[in-house]
Symmetry: D2
Subunit: 307 residues, 4 copies
């Protein structure tokens, strides 16, 4: 079934809030998200700033210990401008380098969805020729966390949240560990594009039209968000410091190779050691995000012994 859902209110925390819609396994939802400051497709303030979330969506049958898969069919900017900050974050620069934000800290960009590019609305001469290709994704989404917690959309954890990973574009399927009945899926914080690490603290912040389909993997238990594209499997770790985020992501991939693919720890190590790829998704939020990736082309050569 396909649901058209128009949000009436938004949440700035991810947790055990009342669901806005009950959906079935395999259902599709078409909805919208406002930007990180709550501005909608008309540029109107529709929600309180700080990554307001559309949702939560209750998925029938999803129970603690299951995995919720969310496939994004489309993530499309629904207005023609975005905003960013204009200065590197202190967390990505040597401590003795000054990176004070100017008073007017928001810069506007034109977003041309048809041409697939973005450029500054009012560039300085040096940046007048800069056109960047769009790569729209959602910066913040996930499911209700464990223990009845209700956590700010500024941060992230095993439940997802504000991961700001630029690889989470349309065509990607993301898997979350379910901690409460119905999973309670939230989404928002669209970016028209972003560099690695979200190093100025924002992508091109924008409101979105989103279409996604859920499915429940009964009895499948994972510890951290996983994902799949046409070319790669990946696992996401969210934590500070950056090492710990990388450790979580690598550990989840290590488990995937052992539990799902049937490799031994030595086999998984030999494969990962020479074939692993990492992406630094964000080094700005309270929890940093690292993604551990493995090409399907290598995985396809790995035979399960029991096959």
């Amino acid at each position: 079934m396909i649901h058209q859902f128009i949000p009436q209110h938004y949440f700035n925390t991810i947790g055990n809030h009342s669901a806005v819609l009950m959906i079935q396994d395999r259902d599709t939802v078409i909805t919208t998200t406002v930007d990180a400051r709550g501005w909608d497709n008309n540029g109107d303030s529709a929600a309180t700033r700080g990554n307001p979330m559309t949702g939560p969506f209750y998925v029938e049958g999803a129970m603690p210990g299951d995995t919720l898969a969310v496939r994004f069919e489309s993530i499309t900017p629904n207005r023609d401008w975005a905003w960013t900050t204009n200065m590197l974050a202190p967390s990505v620069i040597d401590p003795n380098v000054s990176v004070t934000l100017s008073a007017s800290d928001i810069v506007r960009w034109t977003v041309d969805v048809e041409q697939g590019v973005a450029f500054l609305e009012d560039p300085s001469p040096s940046l007048a020729g800069l056109k960047l290709p769009l790569r729209p994704f959602l910066g913040c989404f996930g499911v209700a966390p464990t223990n009845g917690q209700c956590i700010s959309t500024a941060t992230s954890g095993q439940y997802g949240g504000n991961m700001d990973y630029k690889g989470l574009v349309a065509g990607t399927t993301v898997y979350f560990p379910v901690s409460v009945e119905g999973g309670l899926f939230y989404l928002g914080d669209g970016h028209a594009l972003q560099g690695d690490g979200e190093i100025i603290g924002t992508g091109l912040e924008i409101s979105m039209d989103v279409r996604f389909t859920v499915s429940v993997q009964k009895g499948k238990t994972i510890s951290w968000p996983r994902g799949e594209t046409d070319t790669h499997w990946f696992c996401i770790g969210n934590a500070r410091p950056l090492e710990q985020a990388l450790q979580h992501a690598t550990t989840e991939m290590f488990r995937l190779l052992q539990e799902d693919i049937g490799l031994s720890s030595v086999e998984a190590s030999l494969l990962l050691g020479q074939a692993v790829e990492y992406e630094i998704a964000n080094m700005f939020n309270p929890a940093y995000t690292v993604v551990c990736k493995l090409s399907k082309s290598f995985l396809s050569t790995v035979a399960r012994i029991d096959q």
Copy 2:
């Protein structure tokens, strides 16, 4: 001028050792390196283990405050096997996951330079089909550090060293800050290929034939190694923790954009924020390595105001 240089001895530290060869600006050197344990092209032990270095090469005219550019024309395995360890390093995995190395900690791989692939010599059934594409590079190279220091080839710093960055393949030019007369360039620790992060502590360790050309940039001062490929500019940061390595690399790129390209700090931030790429080169050595990259395609759109 082209020098054919056959190493007679090797160093396990990078510092103010006596030069093995004096060369001129623009000279080319053709030489060899032994592997990380000192095994040469015949598999004989030619040097003490721990990244023994070929060199140092004294480059006439290179003085403290200058930059030494080294362009690698070729880096080619000169034997048909390599070795790796077989278990993830504790630094990349959650602390509660056991990753004890087995007693026999070395695994041998066949390296087929003609076919451009590597595979396990004695694979388990699961990995029997695994073939990985070669991407030969040098794990450890650099110039003498500041203050007359002499530092183990286990680690790295502003002078280069054991960075284990898989992007340093043939065709790349690397730039080092010169700290002593002649620069004193060392090289070694060849890897036939490696994943991001060197997460099992080794790439495919192998001896190499190497050809490189030096040039001195008089009066050009940089703080961290920089590099250039056909498609990207990059800057390398070496430190623990991983955040600090990233901060050094980003700061060096921030400087490059301001000092070499003429951008303001706001312009550099706007560009990097949406276009930066990071690679995690190693998260195994005493100093971790992060690479901050920027596509030349974006840089080419950026006009210098004074042009």
Copy 3:
């Protein structure tokens, strides 16, 4: 007014739960806490494990932007035994050192409140003579956090929480930033004693009788918990990595010296540089805790210029 409060239920999160008691500014509460696994003074399971909290107490007049002061008049073990784990946490030991917990991971200690000592119930010969002096404190307490969050009592933040700081004994006054009406004060997780860092993951875990008095400082805004003993002022930082916890604590002390004492940033630096003391409170929980202290003996020599 003095309230005798007997808990009927407990919370494993700190957040906007319904208050169990409304109290006035300057009121005193006499109550009890169960231990970290929910075992009460009789050793019965009274609550779900994971630092179950007594409270929350709603303090009339406390509003966001105010500071809530809590003075602990007494914290007294109300049973004669405690428990600990028996192995160093992986977070405090080199990654290559094995610290696997044994199957039976709980060790019982006798707690003799009259003699003021604790000793192992069933010691090995080597530890048969070990008697440790009691120093009872609460490991976890604080007020509701910002933004309607509801956060597990496993961790901590600007609102307090699971700080496990052994200095928070009777006689100490702790100050919290108020984020919701009434502040909503929670307390629990008593320790009969503990070393620095909570490096085996527990203190001597025990249930407690507690007496405390609240007071509201209207219009006084702080960012991190502060505290006061007879001899010291202190500020608490909670974060990972350990550096960040130290930075939060130091920054709060830096602010205290400037805003409350009237020092300039140079004067505060000169004083702190030579007189600051740090304690590592916990290096086990999701957020580590560092305490920045300054002796009142030095502060008393510092004249406010305007005095």
Copy 4:
């Protein structure tokens, strides 16, 4: 034998330099050190800035694998003034707090050795009453490192170096792992006093008269510097990040309790968990320093099973 040694030159690296004096096991040396910028007892510039070292002293019989014990009998300022910086280091403060050093970055203090106090030479009114008790120690000392390395006195490692631990006062014995014949002991960087963490980047920097006695522990192998006072045993870890420094120090203490005292890993954990103390020695240098301490009063209760 007692040697009076007057330094003629100084080193800014610790490594395999030619010894300035050969001494025997159990010999005592009376000598002097200049301050961190090379200023001597007369305030004259006697050496290049950056912690110039007196030494190295070659101790007959000290061989790799042994331990060198150095007992400091006296460490006494030999002039009446010291200097400090005047602003918190960026490494100890939140990244968004400005801590720019003023142009004139050196502040002078009067050091009154007879009265045992220090005070600012030219205080602002607020600090006019500040008198701090002297606690003289050496910030930087140690032995030649492994592998023929020669390392800047800015940093530290397993060989000692720039640890800036305020506990290393007269009366303390420090133990170092010997890596080269003769050990090669260096010393310098005196501080008349200092707070925890060396958080403004200096103690009260001053030249010193020093008297110390060496002894060689044949066949005794340690991994990190250890030390002993009248009241405590301690182990020192030097690394970044701060967690890693703490891990090294704790691991060395864990080994000490097992190898020297004969405890099992569980016994050592039970003892350390409730009795350990930490000090943050420096959070300013390239390697941070954490000290893990254990009171001799607890150790004295621990019987060796085999006694």
